[in-house]
Symmetry: C2
Subunit: 474 residues, 2 copies
């Protein structure tokens, strides 16, 4: 077995001595990614990255751990899930829990007043992993945020639009973007008679409606959180409302559901502006205005939204919102911000399932040419000269790491590697200073002068569709 | 200030209340990377990645932390530099110290018998950082390794060749690859009369010759490590030898320096095979056969090599060797391996210095088009429609996040962003259902039918060299 490719093999050579037993595993909730998995992931990341770049985003990188103080007081009761580094003398640090808090710290620390950035990196949560559903303790997030003072709903609309573009481009099925506004939710709570000091805790209860029935959520509100039963019933009427933004908006106005509450009316007017922008960009029909959407995080201050793949049970695959107060927690300057995070592990697990179902054979590398010697007596240096020439021309080339390889084994290896081109040398070719070049798609083989090698290979490569992972994103 | 770009600004709005002071910094030895730095890094990584792919390598990913036991006993006295995670209940874990040990663990755990993989990721060392020289506590490594049973020196030659190709492609100046063989070094120690149990400690002393004079190294050997002074003097004769592989080999053989020592002669013969392969691939002249090269790590068992940029004081920028015993430490199967690691932070710091010296203005994003409205009265939705159309066509487009922006401010923003194309709409264009498209390189502006927008923009983009970081790798 030559060159690349992981060949799992269970049979081991036994060693004479037994040795100290290592536990051969990765830590709980983490995993290795194998070459075929990496090929899918690379494709997915490139796809998402090009969407971010399409919107002119720059990128930054922050350390994988932050001073513990930087994370403290940002995640509410989820803070218990933060990984701490051991105190080995020096500063007390923790692994980052998300990319939003490090971003806010970055903006404050570098005195930035406006930035549109994406950040693709892993984050860490000591949660109970459900690895088959794409839930890990170490996982990637792909974040996009626009920070800066801009006009009402303009960056917000771009974020929703970009989320649509990404989900359309990754081809994981039909999706809907649920959208609501934190200020509208608070206004509704006020209209229903929720005491102001219970807004956030009732908001947390509403957030569970995607996993729990209204009856259970109502029970939590009334029995655990001490809400008046009649108030809860009034909330029910609102949180059951969802639909096309224009339709629901018309209904709310027609039924005068928010009349008399100034903040609610103002927020509805703002949402109308957003809907108009989304309509102009052609993505309003992807959105469901959903009064039950609450989002767990405390720091949201404006629109909140999350994307659901309609045929999947994986929950939300992307989510975000406006958070105007977070940067100000690190300094004296408020920098209003809006953004979202793509839950790329869930997308990845959908794509992997898809590839397995369709039995797509995933190419693990991008080798274009395999160089074979058709006679065992030929000196390996003849292949090395050819290979070096192809490498120099920027052509991805492999050969068998044997000094005197069997022709048959090389042909098999080339075929296993799914290379589009094979270059062959035999004694005749050496004597006539030529090489044989075979197009693996057409099976046509041609003998060309040695000096024409690179040109001939490039000609064949140009004629071939080299899409690495067929059908996955097409 | 619109859209992208980090705008550092020192002036802060004062807040009424003072608040709890955060220490606004990243942990010691770590740093943020800003958008211009990321632009250089992305270019550098893409360059290195394409070299790895040229050789048919696959890629893998492993967790950023491993079980502590996995790392124990692999790094000798450097183990004290390992970052541990706090024991929060559950497994005891440490941040990875390099990518080689996780690779060996991966190969053993997945029962792999042959793989050629690259891995680009950050590693962690609680060292004393010298950040100005590109030495950090959190830093990237780019590793390439070939694991598997192959013919003598064949994968080894490919590794040396690939290291040359990478350093040539990144344009950081002239370089030399010092090369030696662990078995030759051991044989030389034996010839000189070093007791077998002192081989590794004397090897460590020799390893310091690139930073210390022979006199100091000799002192360490004799006074600290108890070596006989005459033995040390015999070692001196050898470790001062270096030169072109063919020349030094001829000298060693002519002066019969290793005669009578079977292992030495056998290793020299093996090195001759390597030199022949490197010559066939055209990279032997990059190599200096250097008997003083020792390499710190204990696990090397065959060739060892490291690359030095000749005009820089940054020490080695890439290093590696053969390690046939490491995978076997995790299981019952030995999988002989050879590889190397690129010290990409040092390359990055050279490139950054270079860019600063040449005053290269680095583009932080890849925006191609900026859409402006030349009349403040035009409704923003007109721009949104244009922008959505350009995004849909895959064109990187930005606009100003203002509902009624001033024409002048938009032109300035477009010019700041160094976009190659500007699209402009005024009242005339709206009335005549047309748009103005300006080629920013030629300054030519043309009014086209609205339906021709995308085609016109694509035509201009095709005509422009869009190399992001000019001159850096060219």
């Amino acid at each position: 077995k030559p060159a690349a490719a992981a060949v799992p093999e269970k049979k081991h050579k036994e060693k004479k001595e037994s040795k100290k037993k290592f536990v051969l595993k990765t830590p709980k909730g983490t995993q290795d990614y194998t070459p075929p998995q990496m090929a899918i992931r690379e494709e997915l990341f490139n796809n998402i990255k090009s969407c971010f770049k399409k919107h002119g985003a720059v990128t930054i990188e922050t350390p994988v751990f932050e001073l513990k103080d930087t994370l403290t007081g940002k995640y509410g009761e989820d803070s218990k899930l933060i990984y701490d580094l051991q105190d080995q003398g020096g500063e007390i640090c923790s692994l980052r829990y998300d990319l939003t808090v490090p971003f806010a710290r970055y903006v404050a620390m570098h005195g930035i007043r406006s930035i549109k950035r994406y950040h693709i990196a892993r984050v860490y949560r000591r949660d109970n992993p459900v690895m088959t559903k794409g839930r890990f303790r170490e996982f990637y997030q792909c974040d996009f945020d626009i920070a800066g003072e801009y006009d009402l709903m303009v960056p917000d609309a771009e974020c929703v639009m970009l989320m649509c573009e990404i989900l359309e481009s990754v081809k994981v099925g039909n999706f809907v973007i649920k959208l609501n506004h934190r200020k509208l939710l608070d206004a509704i709570f006020a209209i229903c008679g929720v005491p102001a000091d219970k807004f956030r805790t009732i908001c947390s209860a509403v957030d569970k409606l995607d996993k729990m029935s209204w009856e259970l959520v109502r029970k939590e509100m009334v029995e655990e959180k001490g809400l008046d039963g009649e108030v809860a019933d009034r909330i029910e009427k609102f949180v059951k409302l969802n639909g096309h933004p224009r339709t629901l908006m018309a209904q709310i106005r027609a039924e005068k559901l928010c009349d008399g509450h100034k903040d609610a009316i103002a927020t509805l007017d703002q949402l109308d502006v957003l809907f108009t922008y989304l309509e102009a960009m052609g993505c309003l029909d992807r959105v469901s205005f959903d009064l039950s959407l609450a989002r767990g995080l405390d720091y949201y201050t404006g629109i909140i939204y999350e994307a659901i793949i309609t045929e999947s049970d994986r929950g939300s695959v992307a989510a975000g919102g406006r958070y105007d107060g977070l940067v100000g927690m690190y300094g004296n300057t408020e920098v209003p911000s809006v953004g979202f995070s793509i839950g790329v592990e869930r997308l990845f697990s959908i794509l992997e399932e898809e590839a397995a179902k369709k039995k797509i054979k995933i190419r693990q590398n991008q080798t274009e040419v395999y160089v074979c010697q058709m006679d065992r007596d030929i000196n390996i240096t003849e292949r090395l000269k050819i290979i070096a020439e192809l490498w120099k021309a920027g052509i991805n080339t492999e050969y068998m790491y044997r000094a005197t390889p069997q022709p048959k084994k090389q042909i098999e290896a080339a075929s296993d590697a799914q290379v589009p081109v094979m270059v062959l040398i035999g004694k005749t070719e050496l004597e006539t200073n030529s090489v044989a070049v075979k197009n693996m798609a057409t099976k046509q083989q041609e003998v060309v002068e040695r000096s024409q090698l690179v040109a001939k290979v490039q000609e064949i490569l140009k004629s071939i569709d080299q899409s690495q992972i067929s059908n996955l994103f097409k």
